[in-house]
Amino acid sequence: MRRTLLFALGGLLLAGIIHIAVVFMVPLFADRDAWAQMRQFGRDGRFHPLPVPEPGAEPLLSLDPRMIYSVCRFSLGQGPVRIRASLPNDFWSVAIFDRRGRNVYSLNDRSAERSRLDLAVVTPVQIAQLRQDPPPSLETAIVIELPIDVGFALLRVFVADDSLMASAVGSLATADCSGSL
């Protein structure tokens, strides 16, 4: 009996290990995570405007229907990524996520202090190279150093009412996340 109890206790310890392992492995096996769902909008390395969230036709779960969105999946393997857009004078924000959907950076129009979005996403290794020979075009950009190799950027623009929709869509269409600095 005593030995059985001991084995049960060992089983409990093992249960704890399995619990931790499963929780950490869920993201590795998730095939419906944000990254995977963004595949449907088009190829990587450029912004894809999402359809306006409507009942029964939401591009992603739990989006705010008062915003319009554009997403870009990018890779820092080929060098830094520059994210640029001319956006309206109302609220907009941009968020950068890693492969697992963790938010690693975010910025809104007020903290950017201008209606032009200009971000350079750089890895720690690339930033060391950039410091030695900084390209002049980087002077206007906000340089952010992120320890990720792939990720996605989600740009959102507030649309106060339907009459502003056309201009908001137009400004979202200027978004670019090409690799060139």
Binding site: L12, V23, D64
Partner: protein, 191 residues
């Protein structure tokens, strides 16, 4: 033989408890670091680089994209102030003061996080299109049948949830939920 049975017991305990608790924690456990203000709950940690493993697992399962700390924060409610679940069979009144934010939106979703179709073609309110009380507070009626004033229509669903999103707000600068004031959700009648 005894030994084999003991091993079997240990393995059975390990796998059932291990998998069940992991599944439960990811699916229902809620994430750590939830900030509850009345009936509203927010997970500020979900939108940060140090999101805990449970939050990351939940995000991976649902495919949701959280608001980053630099964008704003979201509060969701699935119950009214008496603790009963929000249902499309009842009418509710959301009233009170809102936290400081440059912009907020209030959106109704069904239990699966999808927008609800309705004849009024409205599923949300934002802070600039709403008629306020003289004291600056808000009053929004949530119901299936039309209501005077600010009316947020919902579908006749069994369960729904409300999400308050505050954009560009000092709420994300840290601090607990202690001094945040959120409007109350009270049930005003059922059919």
């Amino acid at each position: 033989m005894r030994f084999l049975i003991d091993i079997a017991i240990a393995i059975l305990i390990a796998t059932t408890i291990g998998f069940f608790t992991a599944w439960y924690a990811v699916e229902y456990g809620g994430q750590y670091g939830a900030v509850a203000v009345g009936e509203w709950t927010s997970w500020p940690g979900a939108g940060s680089p140090n999101a805990d493993p449970y939050a990351v697992a939940l995000l991976a399962r649902t495919g949701e994209v959280p608001l980053g700390a630099g964008e704003g924060t979201a509060f969701s409610a699935e119950k009214d102030d008496s603790g009963s679940p929000l249902t499309g069979r009842c009418a509710y009144l959301i009233a009170g003061q809102t936290p400081a934010a440059r912009l907020w939106t209030l959106t109704g979703y069904d239990a699966n996080g999808r927008l609800m179709a309705n004849a009024a073609r409205r599923s949300s309110f934002h802070s600039r299109e709403i008629v306020r009380r003289p004291d600056g507070g808000i009053e929004i009626a949530v119901s299936t049948i039309p209501s005077p004033g600010n009316w947020l229509p919902i579908a006749r669903v069994d369960r729904f949830k409300l999400v308050f999103r505050f954009y560009d707000t000092p709420l994300t600068a840290g601090g607990g939920g202690g001094d945040i004031v959120m409007p109350k959700i009270t049930r005003s009648g059922c059919q």
